[in-house]
Symmetry: C2
């Protein structure tokens, strides 16, 4: 019995590795974790390529249901299970936790790595070695407007580092009202755009006024990295209030003040493209 | 005409994505960049899977010869070229540069992402979002012992972040004597081990005495990430003077002082394994 955690990469069904595909094809059960990120294709496309039925694993299943899956597996020596993850297996804390739980049950765990936004963000031209701590920007609500990302950006920029901002994803969320009423009614999925991220970033800078960054700070926005219609645009932070990046997922880079020569060239390249498409 | 830059991932010939493999099979020329990293298999294995002959591209070819390759391509509209890179296409500055040069010649460039050490290092259990600037540790020589990595580690640790240390690779290097004599005689390849890295790290701490870290600082060493014989061991920094990690490539993580609960569990897990194998 082996529990395989397999990264699917960032784009479509064909971003799985040859090794990953061979493994999926021989597994008895195939789960797809789909609440920390999304792929650019429907699960039917994956099922067609894999020749396997896919069980969609939402947050509940990954956090609570996983124990049952693993316990069953530990009692079935001839069975192999694949747990598919968008990006790389270790792009979410949950997956290290799943790995540990499996090992504790005496199950052999094998990992198949793939691209994730953490390294694919190099497509912006900003060097992956020059990124500081990664931050997450959550959707602000009327009452909850946490600026905890602000100090991290400030420290990164003081150290001359870029900041990768992961933008909020809300999948299978319930309203406070429905939670109180115990109703399992889910809101439609929401994905934060670069525009919303910049609105919230500028609000944080206005409130805290710690000069972590400004409207003029160089930034790069990316949408659908690894998809066939991937979009990369660079500009000053406030430019992104008017740049339309299209469908999700978006991610955002706040650059260090000083760019290396090749970074500068790449920044200009994606800036020219921004200009062209805006005209 | 398209110039494809394709990441091969970290392990063997089967870590290429299904998409990448389909592209390589239809390309007229296939180059493999092989001086910034190494794969766990010989090029013959790749050629067998791809059904294509592979041209090995060393540093000279990537930095000087690439212009000729691109110029030829720009004059041949019906031709497609694949440029294969161990890891992800953007794990080395050189590849952004190659991309720009191609675009400037009017060549369409397509990127196929894959895993690289930057995100696969999550296999240590240390969260990829909590890493600061990545550092490189070069082989010290008698006269050249640069400690420039030291301040970066210090800053990362002051911010409560982990540090990924990339360890030196010397491929196709010439001695000063042979360079002076103009002789193209190359030294055998050298790959820095975790042990050597720790010797140099502790030397830097002893000389600078800035308390960036100590012999007791928690660390994780990895060898051959993504290979079938991958090894992960954790321990205090000085433990790695005695831990045998085996063949290359090695990478090294200097942990933040405070570990999150799952990080702590993973640290203990790889530490127990270290103990067992040492006994």
């Amino acid at each position: 019995m082996v529990f395989y955690i397999i990264g699917l990469g960032l784009g479509d069904e064909k971003d799985i590795s040859v090794k990953g595909l061979e493994i999926v094809k021989k597994c008895d059960e195939v789960y797809l974790e789909h609440y920390t990120s999304i792929l650019g294709v429907q699960k039917e496309k994956l099922e067609e390529l894999y020749g396997r039925q896919i069980i969609m694993a939402d947050r509940e299943m990954c956090e609570e249901g996983i124990d049952t899956i693993l316990e069953n597996l530990s009692k079935t020596p001839e069975k192999n299970v694949a747990f598919l993850v968008v990006g790389d297996p270790f792009c979410a804390t949950t997956h290290s936790d799943v790995q540990l739980r499996a090992i504790q049950l005496g199950i052999k765990v094998e990992i198949v790595h793939n691209a994730s936004i953490i390294n694919a963000i190099g497509c912006t031209g900003m060097q992956v070695y020059r990124f500081g701590e990664t931050i997450s920007i959550p959707f602000f609500t009327e009452k909850w407007r946490p600026y905890s990302f602000y100090e991290k950006i400030k420290k990164n920029r003081e150290m001359g580092l870029h900041t990768l901002c992961l933008l909020d994803i809300k999948v299978k969320e319930r309203t406070d009202e429905n939670i109180l009423k115990g109703k399992k009614i889910y809101e439609p999925p929401r994905f934060m755009s670069c525009k919303t991220a910049v609105e919230q970033l500028l609000e944080a800078e206005e409130k805290i006024a710690g000069k972590a960054f400004s409207k003029e700070t160089k930034c790069v926005g990316v949408a659908r990295v690894g998809f066939s219609d991937q979009l990369i645009r660079s500009g000053q932070m406030s430019d992104f209030l008017n740049i339309e990046m299209g469908p999700p997922l978006h991610s955002f880079v706040i650059c260090a003040d000083e760019l290396h020569p090749i970074e500068e060239d790449m920044y200009k390249f994606y800036n020219q493209n921004s200009q062209k498409k805006d005209e």
